[in-house]
Amino acid sequence: MVKWLQHRNLIQVMTWVLLTTLIVGCGDESSKKSIHTINYSKDYPANSGGTLIDAMTGEPSGLIAMIAGESAASAIAGNIFNSLLKYDKNLELTGELAKSWEISADQRTITFHLKPELKWADNTALTSDDVLFTWQKVTDEKTRTPYGSDFKLVTLAETPDAQTFRVTYKAPYAPALDTWAGLHILPKHLLKDQDINTTAFARNPVGSHYYKLEQWKNGQYLKLTRNVNATQGQAKIDHLLSRIIPDKAAQFLELSADNIDSMGLNPIQYARIFPARPELNKNIALYKELGNSYTYLGFNLKRKPFDDVRVRQAINYAINKQEIIDGVLLGLGEPVASPYKPGTRWSNPALKPYPYDPAKAKALLKAAGYEDHDGDGIIDKDGKPFSFEILTNQNKEREMTGVLIQRRLKEVGIDANIRVLEWASFLGRFIKPKEFDVVVLGWSLSLDPDQYSIWHSSQQAPGQFNFISYSNPRVDKLLEAGRLELNPDKRMKIYHEFSAILLEDSPIVYLSAGYGLSAIHKRVRGISNPAPPAGIGHNTYEWNIPQAYARSEMSEH
């Protein structure tokens, strides 16, 4: 009896707690929400002023991009520093600090002509001396940069006058222009007596681009202010403020509460949460753009039976790519058939991804000698069942992709297991010593078509990037020729042929290329939608915030 009473007490208490929770919960629903009811669809002339607040998950380690290297650093430094060249909205090279450039007849020498009257943010003149200084630094043995090798190919760098910078390569090097588009030019007058590895300049930089760093609160935010001496004209928005918020869910709450203006979204936030929250759509616009990378399934070509092209093609036919895009990316991606961004000149429009065709897959496997002889549902050859391991690193999207692939392979009688590893072990224990069957990984959709280091047969040593051991003499030839040809039209033909062979050979299965997704408050105007190949960020200097929409609490500073 006593025992029963005690239990009854317990039950009462729990009911009470539950009820209270429910009541409190209901109270929340009915309480008024502080949603601003400003109509963001009015037309205003583009004025300058305002602050754009965005969120990033990581903090830059420093703002000298050649040393820092991580994406947070390049995102911020890209607003502060210029390169000689840049990519325009269609991802074609154009001048940034350089007004023009010439390539000599033997294709070994490139001469850059700087724009006249370039200035650093501190009002000092920016000349070819600064460019030379930057080249010296990036090739200096003591500089702690992983990006030096491309620039060490320059045998002679000279400055005939203050507006001209000339580099000579030992042999023509076509990716050179792309490398100069990626090198931020640093001010010689501030850095010549400094150790670039330790200099305080990395946290207090002076550049020449639209913005300059005003304040860096460690672990909290970086605030950029318009650079009145900018060489490219003036950006419209006065301040860019990047808050460091590591957690995406917290970023999303800050966006909902109108404390930040822009953030990158994941597919669930884009495709599930936003459509379900109409009040958010009143104030926030969604954008999608071509992503910068693709996911692939790569075979270890040194292992049997992956050295057999029929087996690779069979697996390619057996995988349903659309299913992966729909299931993993919630439809927010597209299939690719070459390692180049669709819609750019390097991407071969004639190539189509392998369709999902299990019958063809089975036929190819049969031709390669794989059939289910013992009737256990798994195909086999010489008494050995076709069974292998799909290896990937800790990344939710890649794990889910692996599961979908596993299921489709089962349908054609292949037994695949999935193994997920932390990155450093994945790289150190499996990729470097080539101890794997099949990997799911990603590569970037590079802007320059040169992919020598990924596909050339000479790049297979441990630590190099052709870890799948792909080797095709014709591809080697094309990759070598592509490096020597600086004429874009001739180069295009080379890489179109290269992509066609790669697709046919199927050393990797292209799985999907996810879109870049972002949410930006409607107070920000001037954003191109739909996004051009370079993405919505190509014209941030034209973005503006009409006075009527600017945040009130920010205007007092």
Binding site: L10, S256, S453
Partner: protein, 339 residues
């Protein structure tokens, strides 16, 4: 007593060296180094360049050589500079020849974590102590069960989930508290009172979350300690003397029940510098937990070793302080030490 203290103090040095050696070895057992992060798996960064970086960071040398290099620097109390954060000093600020001061990473993160943990410890004691005492006095009654259930819910609830729910409720729906971060954007322009208020508002949720999840341990500890003491003979004696119940409980029982808590607090001193990675990530607080976690992911050895060394030192000091406090509070222990 002094001799005992000195002896204990000097014993800490070989202990620290041993701990640092083991930490260093374990750290190097994990595969990879600063040059093999996922971000550096980039065809533009060649293997030769990465090998050069390894040489510049002395990562190509045998582990024992690297350890002796580290030890040599530590002997002069130099914690070194971070690999990943553009050579920021690991521990304390440095000044270059032009007078630019670069703040140390631990120097910046430690006060933040310390503040949150001390505040939450105070909150825990303020709530757990009365809860534990009431629970013990009303043993097996409704009040006791409600309290136990409450502290267990606090203990069992996933902190990140509660944090997100509270952020949504107080930040998005009602705009009572800031959602994340340490300071508002206009913090510098505020009066000192406004600054304090602003910081407290930002810390309210992190401190609350950290306290609610840590409540159960202390509350149940006090409850059990009280129950044990209440059944002792001297409590019966005190009651039979005719002392009022208030004196019996707060004058005799509670004081004795609190003794073991000293050990717990002593042991929680190193915990004060270790932040919670999850809470710090969700609330965007640049504290020790996030610093350590990022350093491990990046294989930023100087930062990892810096934090581990300071943690080890504080653990040893915490033990010492707990022992001394125990001797001070309990005459029986004191006598044992003296002999």
């Amino acid at each position: 007593m002094l001799k005992y203290l000195l002896k204990r103090f000097f014993w800490m040095i070989p202990l620290l060296v041993g701990i640092s050696l083991i930490s260093f070895m374990i750290m190097h057992l994990a595969p990879g180094d600063i040059t093999s992060s996922e971000a550096s798996f980039n065809p533009k960064a060649s293997e030769e360049s990465r090998q050069k970086l390894r040489e510049l960071y002395s990562l190509d040398k045998p582990v024992i050589v690297q350890y002796s290099l580290w030890m040599k620097r530590m002997a002069t109390l130099d914690f070194g500079t971070s690999f990943a954060s553009h050579q920021r000093p690991v521990f304390w600020q440095t000044k270059d020849k032009d007078g630019n001061v670069t703040l140390g990473m631990i120097q910046e993160a430690l006060p933040i974590t310390l503040l949150i943990n001390v505040l939450s410890l105070i909150l825990i004691i303020a709530i757990a102590l009365p809860l534990g005492v009431i629970s013990a006095l009303k043993q097996n009654q409704l009040t006791d069960r409600v309290i136990t259930l409450f502290v267990f819910i606090g203990f069992a609830i996933p902190g990140f989930w509660l944090a997100l729910m509270l952020m949504y409720w107080t930040g998005v729906q009602h705009n009572w508290l800031p959602i994340s971060g340490l300071q508002s954007l206009g913090h510098e322009h505020l009066h000192w009172l406004g600054k304090t208020l602003d910081t407290l508002k930002h810390l309210a949720l992190p401190v609350f979350i950290s306290a609610i999840t840590g409540l159960a341990g202390i509350a149940l500890f006090v409850r059990n300690g009280m129950l044990e003491v209440l059944h002792q003979d001297y409590i019966t004696t005190a009651r039979s003397k005719g002392l009022n119940e208030h004196r019996v409980i707060y004058g005799h029982a509670l004081r004795n029940a609190l003794l073991p808590l000293i050990t717990i607090f002593g042991l929680s001193i190193p915990g004060l510098i270790g932040g919670s990675v999850i809470a710090e990530s969700i609330f965007a607080i640049p504290g020790m937990g996030k610093l350590f976690y990022d350093a491990v992911l990046m294989r930023d050895f100087p930062v990892i070793m810096g934090i581990l060394t300071i943690g080890a030192l504080l653990t040893l000091i915490g033990n010492l302080v707990a022992d001394v406090a125990y001797a001070w509070a309990d005459p029986r222990v004191r006598r044992g030490v003296m002999q």
